[in-house]
């Protein structure tokens, strides 16, 4: 996944501000490069420290992106105090559509310490890690 330094910094700031809860959002960009993260409200208020859910917020984010000529490249969310790898729950609830990047950021003690991006296999059996290329 390609991402601008500024976008990654902005996403980190958003996820850090949500700590110790999970925060989440949508990766937007152009020509396959993520240029910004669109923060979404975590709808899982019942268990926000370890779950996230975005449904209706995506409609507005998608419409806004279309207006500005941006595309939805994927999704991002934080793992407070645990490593930046997908959980079984992430696997079971990922969108089984092709070409979506899932950026997971480990936020430990309020600081973003690790950012990994993942793609879901076509058969939904696992995630494969993809390199995160940071551009200026």
């Amino acid at each position: 996944m390609k991402i601008t330094r500024q976008a990654l910094q902005q996403i980190h700031a958003h996820l850090e501000s949500g700590y110790p809860n999970e925060a989440c959002g949508v990766l937007l960009g152009k020509d396959g490069v993520v240029t910004e993260g669109a923060p979404a409200t975590n709808e899982r208020t019942d268990s926000a420290h370890n779950r996230y859910l975005i449904t209706y917020a995506q409609k507005d984010i998608q419409n806004d992106a279309d207006r500005r000529g941006l595309e939805v490249i994927g999704y991002y969310h934080s793992h407070p105090d645990v490593p930046a790898r997908p959980s079984q729950f992430d696997l079971e609830h990922a969108i089984p559509w092709p070409g979506i990047s899932y950026l997971i950021v480990s936020v430990c003690k309020g600081k973003a310490v690790e950012s990994n991006s993942w793609r879901l296999r076509d058969d939904r059996s696992a995630f494969d890690q993809e390199p995160v290329e940071i551009s200026a």
């Binding site: 975005i54 998608q62 793992h79 990922a94 092709p98």
Partner: protein
Amino acid sequence: MAIKVTIPTALRRFANGQATVEVAGATISEVLGNLTTEHAQLRQHLYSEDGKLRNFVRVYVNDEDIRVRGDDTPVNDGDEISIVPSIAGGNLAKLDPIIKDRAKLTNEEIKRYSRHLILPEVGMEGQERLKAAKVLLIGSGGLGSPIALYLTAAGIGTIGMVDFDTVDFSNLQRQIIHFTGDVGKHKLLSAAEKLKAINPNLNFIPHPVKLTSGNALDIIKDYDLVLDGTDNFPTRYLVNDACVMLKKPNVYGSIFRWEGMASVFAPHLGGPCYRCWYPEPPPPGLVPSCAEGGVLGVICGIIGNIQANEAVKLIIGKGKPLMGRLLRFDAMDMSFREYKIPRDPNCPVCGKNPTVTKLIDYNQFCGIGRGEEGGTSGDSIVEQKDEGLGPDDISVETLKQMRDRKEDFLLVDVRNPDEFEISVIEGSTKLPLPELAQRFKELPKDKLIVLHCKSGGRSGRALKFLRQQGYPKLKNVAGGINAWAERIDPNVPQY
């Protein structure tokens, strides 16, 4: 009629790269049907094989989710349909085992643990992690007893236990690791004998001390996991804070009368800590201890075993831990209820900007000083007795002398009526603490009033209350009727 449908970015490649598609149809299902006929590849991404919308696919007409009104809802010119995937995730569903090492089993152990070994979730791997695990039990009382017995039987390799107390007759009703013949023996000695008898391979480490802010970090640091079986607030906060600081999971349990609670506190694994739930202790005296309120012994087995169960799961890394959730058990209803405990971002210990970064004076934090009961029951670790008399206290010896000299005072027993049946100091006036606020006017203001309860805690609170009501001459019997029974009148039973 043509309706505009917005296609999510990921699926636009199946709709000739278009962001929006104009589709004809009079109802939502017609529009979606026509859409997926026109762009056949969309179908498998939106519908499952039984022809239903996939569960993560959300369809909105303007702003309304179609699940509200059903997909036969008519659509009108100018309506816009949006297809949006719902995305969910989380970090806790799969926990890594907290024990990374594995200790090889001997052939004898393989035989001993065969029922675990054939359980797929445990197996050799899990059993070897249990053997490698070092677990610390705070207290060898009501909760510590079943926890220690079951974890020893389960094959935990190392069990440490903190307790400074000796076995008392009043312990035997619930502290099942101790037997009648153990009365008077140090609890850790008594526990060690039973645990070694169950499993001679156990590495048992006794800590015959009071857990304090001075030694807690040093004791806990060598263990992988802590099970809290204390019955008082100062130790509970001490254990919580030390575990947060050392990043050790803290399996919590508590019991009172016919109820029990259990949870797992582990901020380093993403869950809350005890302080996220209870940032501050209740005022001293608001929550009675088991020594004051009583407890059904059986409850200890139920809650202690829930704690043992969670410890095993954490060690082998299986299942869904009781983290972020509080399980509350009601023995009278025979019901379990679950409550969510969210993590508090402003938690003074595990929050973003912790203000408690080293262990504090937990007796002071919990408002426990002289004259208050810090829990002198068998379970308690923070002991308050024998710390001398406060300004309002008199000893049972002084009380005896005052009676012998026939001094003019009123002795008031503030225990509950049930307790009057157990023991009584002859000549006392009975006024249970819960009734005091309504009935205090029965007491004379011109006479010295000497208050007592079981061990001095409740009568101390009664004294404070009466002082607020303007009673000038008040005293509290330190140690209560139990001290009277122990030191003055052996015919009065202790409980």
